[in-house]
Amino acid sequence: MERELLMTGIGGQGVQLAAQLLAKAATRSGRYAQLFGSYGGMMRGGNTDATLIIGQEPVQAPPMVGSAWSALVMHHEFAVPTLDRLRAGSILVLNTAVVTRELLPPVPDGVRTAAIPASELAIELGSPAAATMVALGAYAAVTRILAIAELVETLPEALPSYRRQHVASNERALHAGADAAAGYGVLEAAWPAEVRAQA
């Protein structure tokens, strides 16, 4: 079973770091992750996207997929190709602090959305750059892709050495996201029960 997560945002939102964290945490948990990130150069405000696939067996899917189980949209500017790949039943975590209703490009029918004002929560936490961490916390909560604890444990390894002092703030961001998503419950569990038990 492979679970696809598409992430899209703009430079400075921390999309790649969050993607790395989830992929590393999944690997630590004994799952197989595959992550392909792309970003438009070093310019601020450029697009930043990631295709993350987590499976219980070595990943078979290609680095970029045409259809995804879930998405995490931090910004609307380059979001169209991501939203286009969602299908009925896909899970969408939306950073509503930036992507307001008016700015949101069309979303396929049947997509289940968790609206999380991630950027706002991050600013409130004093870590505006941790916006995607907040959204990731929410994503983990509504999908049970991994436990928040598993993400937190992986933080020290995922952060570049010169950013290790940010472990605590990122931890807070993950929890804040999970808390913000509490109202959605589990939209769809990523893994069948027996697998979750195993992990």
Binding site: G12, M43, R44, G45
Partner: protein, 96 residues
Amino acid sequence: MSADTPGRVLTRGTLVIDVEACKGCELCIDACPPRVLVMTDTATNSRGYRYPELFAGCIACQACTAICPDFVFQVYRYDEPVELEASLETSADDGA
């Protein structure tokens, strides 16, 4: 050269600043001899960059435009210098 009237500063020229072209590198700030260029505090252009603003006292020396990597400036020299209202900060050496 000409002594400034206190509180006012002799101004020989001015700029047009293409704010949208700026990438916020601040090279112009240090380059300006009378230090009449100052970065915005938090205001940014649409790409998210802060950009310079001009105070009175420009000497039309073209230093800012010489060093700006993003071709942000037009420099105009007044036919006649004028005295404009200045601030303490801009005439002080440690400027903005």
